[in-house]
Symmetry: C4
């Protein structure tokens, strides 16, 4: 199997995700006063949305990490499916910032949801592109039907719908998706353990 | 063959490209209002030029990735040819931003084209520098005459010419080059597959 | 031993730490005049807090580097404990900036201390999460009781307390922790040397 | 030889240098007009100093790359000597920006020279720290007396002195150092070639 190794795709994605997750801190404007109440007034919403976006990007990094533990080789289509995912994730600082500046106004909260759903669909496309690689035979065995990925898309859609009723209601399903992904998924670790039952090169 | 390994050149380039592709999102100013029409008025051109620049940097990353799959070793000249390419690419946020702020005015659109043609020539120089390395024997076999690279330079030149007639006309050949590169190029993958016909170390 | 390798966690953390350590330079506003006195008036405090934060992030990077020399494999819990640490560290530019803008006012100096103590606790949690991995048998042997980590938390707490008396007094224990960590810790190097007594693959 | 591998130090330095080299583009303010003359008026000095700083950081990256081709292992002192170098380099965007804003006024040009000399001394300290490692036996053989490094420090000092006469005169030795380093240095490549005369694992 002489396809391209996935190592450089991982390195580049690590770079982009590291920047996205860190760059948002530049959007945290310093409070105008020097008291706790000015910190609360000027920054509590920013800090909360920063935390939420940090968790989202963290989840994608963690999933991406698990994904490529199982996928040693990639092709040109996977490179672009991955860039497509990074594009949606790179918009997080923009959409998070707008939602935050307008204190959860309706349209920005919907646009944030569209950004979330765009990233979720891009992730699903990446998984699909990987699945059809000849070298990823173990993939289905490890990841199965990926119901979490599908459920996320449904939740985001429900959130966008709820925003039309009341913006903060829409945020609830967004947060629920983050919590769902924080529950650890041991499938990849289990598979790696079974595969390497016999230690080859003891570290 | 005791030349320097290409791995660190790849890692550094990944870092620089990851920053260039992500930093442009900082130029996306949040809309002043909180409605869809304010998003459209304040940001639709920014989002489009962001997408275009993202695709350009993505293409360079993807080509760079393919290039160094075939080139295991580098020398000092390749290091500098690579830095020269990164310099031109690092100007994208600046030239994209100017074109965007002035809503595709003539001079900024020409300057953007000059930036594109500069990067294309730098890429061609990098390929030429690699080609004359003693260790890159398979290079010609894999990449051939690189007509896509040459054609890009011609298209960019045509685009710059058309800007003197009408700026948005000049953007058309710029976009055409991006589309041309998005068509997958399977030469590298094919070559890797033939080289490694017999699986050596099953991953 | 079939767990996930720690290499990508290291690469991602390197990326995030590299950005945090460098991004703070963007907060260094240029002096308004062009004389040495304007440099002193406008930037001496910024440069000092920049240096302090650079040293803190440098210490975390150095410790992180030592830590994962001993830990070849990770699991999902370690990934999240690591992201949690990076979250606290990513707030440094924000809290440093506020403390700096207000010229060491009481509340910002306390908030900076809370940020420091948050990162210290997150580091301790990361170490604890690693310690219970089945693959990290040598860990206790190398790192022992980690008294430096515990002492740091105590020092930061004392610093926060002193801020209530006088902010600049609180900064003293903060600086003391940095100095304590700058004293070299040769445990990891010694352990590596003993482990690899017999050179395996001469580099 | 069981010391710590240099790979992660390289990866972290690559990250920091990639950010420093790229972040300066954020300081390039877009011209206020949309004509070539406004580009010239508002940006020609910025573009020149950007190019100069890009070349400096590129030189350090290239030298750093060559250095660690010969140094497979590091210790805690090398980690900190390296961080010390990165600190000085991370100030380039700040000192370059000030010099640029004030159109090469005397003090900022001197401060830029101090920054350059600081980085050169830090590099010399790094080399000295590496030289005394037990594992770097080939070091002297490859790098010899490092006269380029010493000469740079002298040139920068001359430049700082000339700034007291006339700032733009001081910039000449600064540029001379950059040109001196651009002349390729084939010692490392030659040494690698001799070491690996017999190909071990054909790539």
């Amino acid at each position: 199997m002489g396809a391209m190794k996935s190592s450089r795709l991982e390195a580049f994605s690590d770079g982009v995700l590291a920047i996205i997750i860190t760059i948002m801190v530049l959007e945290l404007h310093q409070p105008h006063g020097e008291t706790f109440s000015s910190l609360w007034d000027d920054a509590h919403l920013s800090l909360l949305t920063y935390l939420l976006s940090f968790v989202y990007v963290g989840i994608y990094w963690s999933n991406h990490h698990h994904l490529f533990q199982v996928v040693p080789h990639v092709d040109g289509a996977v490179l672009w499916a991955n860039l497509h995912l990074l594009f949606w994730l790179s918009l997080y600082p923009f959409t998070t910032g707008w939602m935050d500046e307008t204190a959860l106004a309706r349209t920005p909260t919907i646009v944030f949801g569209v950004n979330l759903i765009g990233a979720a669909i891009a992730y699903w496309l990446l998984v699909t592109t990987i699945r059809r690689l000849p070298t990823s035979g173990h993939f289905d065995e490890v990841f199965g039907a990926d119901w979490k990925g599908r459920l996320s898309i449904v939740f985001y859609a429900v959130g966008i719908g709820l925003c039309f009723v009341e913006p903060w209601l829409g945020v609830l399903p967004y947060v629920a998706v983050a919590l769902m992904w924080l529950i650890p998924d041991r499938r990849v670790e289990r598979w790696l353990q079974e595969r390497d039952q016999v230690p080859t090169v003891a570290p």
